[in-house]
């Protein structure tokens, strides 16, 4: 039986509609940036959770029930955690509120003291007006904390949107792939599964890592008897989502708290050693184990990504900079490979040739 070889003609008008839709979408995103933002966060969250749902799905539990069960269990867990932490926090925040003016005063006096000494020896420093800047900074701390409150509404909106995204699953992606020319489905799925492999491993890795660091920091600070251990540990946990930041934030914040609490330098030394230990544990034990399947990023690239992220999108830009860099790196790698194989930049790959015949 013979069939005619299919003749494929490229007709560029077929791309008009998809390109138009894509452009309209980009324009809409630019216009409604702030409305889109919770959806991006939710999509990221749904993406992180979805392997958990798939775990139950391939074991025969229907998606709707798996998602509902996950929400009920997670809701119960979060309720218990929030209850316990709020119990600890409310006490700590209250005492922080009461003692903040005294602490600020103490800190200011300490800096002024050292500043005046420094200025005496290095008159040049007086032009920097460090003490004035510090007073301004210290006064700004409580309003800054209050400014974080609107972000709390996100805590309700995001899980809500995520729920519906999880119910839908990869429906949108499947729809797009189903409507692509069939011959390109293989390559599109190949690219998607490669990005998924490295990005998914990175995201799940970094969240596990942040949680472990939070637990270690909380235990350590509690044992050392530092005030506000819970608050500091949560801060460390969250800042661990950004490479290198966790240990630095932890060391600085707890050193300040320890100095205000004890007034001597010995606890600070202990804290610095403790966070140095966490940093090494993270680098030598956690990361090689958790991140072994994720994309490898050069520290210089991480730094560039963080700074560029801050420039483009502020705090959230920093949070998203590393995942986005992962995607870009994977896409670049795939693009180079495609140039070499599909578009024949390099000579056609040669199959492995073995001279000894099959015996």
């Amino acid at each position: 039986m013979t069939v005619e070889a299919p003749q494929l003609k490229t007709n560029y008008t077929q791309f008009l509609l998809p390109v138009f839709i894509a452009l309209a979408l980009v324009y809409f995103i630019v216009l409604a940036k702030s409305a889109i933002f919770p959806f991006i966060l939710s999509a990221a969250l749904a993406y992180i959770i979805s392997p958990g749902i798939k775990y139950f799905e391939v074991r025969g539990i229907k998606r709707t029930y798996a998602v509902a069960a996950l929400y009920i269990v997670a809701g119960a867990l979060i309720f218990v955690m929030v209850y316990v932490i709020a119990h600890l926090l409310s006490f700590e925040i209250e005492s922080l509120q009461q003692s903040w003016p005294a602490y600020a005063d103490k800190l200011q006096r300490f800096i002024q003291d050292h500043n005046s000494r420094l200025v005496q020896s290095y008159p040049l420093l007086s032009s920097l007006k460090l003490d004035e800047k510090l007073a301004h900074l210290l006064a700004a701390v409580p309003p800054l904390l209050l400014a974080l409150l609107p972000a709390l509404t996100m805590l309700f909106i995001v899980p809500f949107i995520t729920f519906f995204m999880l119910l839908g699953g990869a429906g949108i992606l499947d729809y797009v792939i189903d409507h692509l020319p069939a011959r390109h489905a293989e390559i599109v799925l190949h690219v998607a599964s490669r990005i998924d492999a490295s990005l998914g491993n990175y995201l799940r890795g970094i969240i596990t890592e942040a949680f472990i660091i939070f637990l270690i920091a909380f235990t350590g600070l509690m044992l050392m008897g530092i005030n506000y251990a819970a608050v500091i540990a949560i801060l460390i946990g969250f800042s661990s989502l950004i490479p290198y930041l966790g240990a630095i934030v932890g060391a600085v914040v707890s050193s300040i708290v320890a100095f205000l609490q004890f007034g001597t330098f010995l606890p600070i030394l202990k804290i610095l050693l403790f966070f140095g230990g966490i940093r090494f544990f993270d680098d030598w034990v956690l990361q090689p184990y958790i991140m072994r399947k994720a994309v490898e990023l050069n520290p210089a690239i991480i730094l560039l990504a963080l700074m560029a992220g801050a420039d483009i999108g502020g705090l959230w830009g920093v949070v998203f900079s590393i995942p986005v860099t992962c995607i870009i790196k994977e896409i670049l790698q795939i693009a180079v490979e495609l140039q070499e194989t599909e578009f024949r930049w390099k000579p056609k790959p040669q199959p492995t040739r073995i001279s000894i015949p099959y015996t």
């Binding site: 013979t2 799905e57 391939v58 025969g60 539990i61 229907k62 069939a182 489905a185 492999a197 194989t341």
Partner: protein, 162 residues
């Protein structure tokens, strides 16, 4: 509502039929039913409509295809006559394109759907992660792949010259 009917409602029976189907695939021989769940997790489903091209001769191969339902025709272009000839038909339970799992080389045939066909795709990257994360399954698949290759080669050698 009884417990049984509730369980029946949340349980997706399609999974059972898919697992049963995978159990009968030669590539997955020797993998226990429980472990087939991990295989199913790594597979990608897609339906090709009648007449759609799955891949063309010369495309770089990235995945192995297992036919779940429907029928696929594999055809090869004869460079001399510029006519392509159907060299094989792939039926449910059979698979093709396994070369892509070994090396990313151009496909040696064109595959198109002869009717609406549902396939499972196993991508090289997924097989690699199975090999590392679940060596038992990965090694099993690799062994079967080697056996199939060897059988093909033997078949070619033993076939009388045309």
């Amino acid at each position: 509502m009884t417990l049984f009917s509730f369980l029946n409602r949340i349980y997706d029976e399609e999974i059972l039929s898919k697992l049963g189907f995978l159990k009968g695939i030669r590539l997955f021989e020797g993998i226990r039913r429980r472990q087939l769940i991990h295989v199913l997790e790594s597979l990608q489903e897609r339906t090709y409509l009648k007449g759609e091209t799955i891949f063309a001769q010369g495309d770089i191969g990235r995945a192995l295809f297992i036919v779940f339902s429907g029928k696929i025709a594999l055809s090869r272009l004869d460079p001399a006559t510029q006519k392509s000839e159907v060299i094989a038909e792939v039926h449910p339970g059979e698979f093709f394109g396994e070369m892509a799992l070994l090396e990313e080389m151009p496909r040696t045939a064109t595959a198109h759907a002869m009717e609406d066909t549902k396939v499972f795709m196993l991508f090289k990257i997924k097989l690699e992660s199975l090999l590392f994360a679940r060596p038992h399954i990965g090694v099993n698949i690799a062994t079967q792949l080697a056996k199939i290759m060897s059988a093909r080669l033997r078949d070619m050698l033993e076939k009388p010259e045309e």
